[in-house]
Symmetry: C2
Subunit: 186 residues, 2 copies
């Protein structure tokens, strides 16, 4: 069950390391980015983790939805890890305007292990195809949800967003979805 291992890897090798530092990182960022500072709310001190059901992942969020702009990266976390010295971990800050033209800044990225699922479904020797892949994405999402629910150190530091592909023809589906989640937090 590929998704089970990828969810644990994503948590143990990444979220467990970076989420506890996220709040400090955002506070530091607001201090050095005065023009961004007014556009954060209590609820946006979280990593928005995007989980697209069809694993169609963009490398830049604005490629997916032109209402989203890349703003800047948060300060980096640098650690020695498994022989790689000063390995770098960072997140990107994006900006979106709501219906009233007010900007909202937030930290978001796709769940990178889904790229592995996407690529595996195209490698015949990897052992599963596109039909199985959808099932694996749901298993990844549910496993990750369980792990994060039970993680005290990651509590309230993330929002898992499952993106259904039924709205693929709406060019602003992603920004609308993110705005809805940001509003729910306030």
């Amino acid at each position: 069950n590929v998704a089970h291992g990828l969810a644990w890897s994503f948590y143990l090798g990444y979220l467990q390391l970076v989420l506890p530092r996220l709040e400090d990182s955002i506070m530091q960022f607001r201090g050095t980015h005065q023009s961004s500072s007014p556009f954060w709310s209590r609820g946006s001190y979280k990593l928005l983790i995007l989980v697209p059901l069809n694993t169609n992942i963009a490398n830049k969020l604005e490629s997916e939805d032109s209402n989203i702009r890349f703003y800047d990266n948060l300060p980096e976390t640098v650690i020695d890890r498994a022989g790689v010295r000063r390995r770098v971990y960072k997140h990107s800050v994006y900006r979106v305007q709501d219906g009233k033209g007010k900007p909202h800044d937030f930290v978001a990225e796709y769940a990178t292990p889904l790229l592995t699922l996407y690529n595996m479904s195209h490698e015949s020797s990897a052992g599963f195809g596109e039909a199985e892949r959808r099932h694996q994405v749901l298993l990844f999402y549910r496993t990750l949800q369980d792990i994060l629910d039970r993680s005290l150190e990651c509590r309230n530091r993330y929002t898992l967003i499952l993106l259904n592909d039924e709205h693929e023809e709406d060019p602003h589906f992603l920004s609308k979805t993110i705005l809805r989640y940001l509003n729910q937090q306030e």
Copy 2:
């Protein structure tokens, strides 16, 4: 089968991205690090990927064996990936002296997914213990070997080193193992 997914993830999400650039990266490094340049050989233009059977992974190689010294990092690779802008990938150069006192510089790191196996074996909810873990390491090693054997773009750019734990009481087992592999390449 956790190891199967982790091996594919390690290849699709990392080795496939970084190994094709490794040779250029080392050539650039030798150009900017004159004191390192004499200590490379044809056979050391590879990433030594350390796979310890017992998943006891050090974050710095010199913590494992004092005959190994950290030298410097190779130039970084920076790419936009799944919403993270300018994500950084890098490898570390280490130095070891052979029996004649001659230094050898090489690029090495532990296979990071083994940290996931190690941590999962200590999380009761993850579903497997230490006995199963050893089996998963061997499955990871064999699956990765298969994938890399069939990868044209990664050909001759890596050396997989399975580290048996029967020599754990020898404080210089790692450096001796690495020197043996470097000698075999020449």
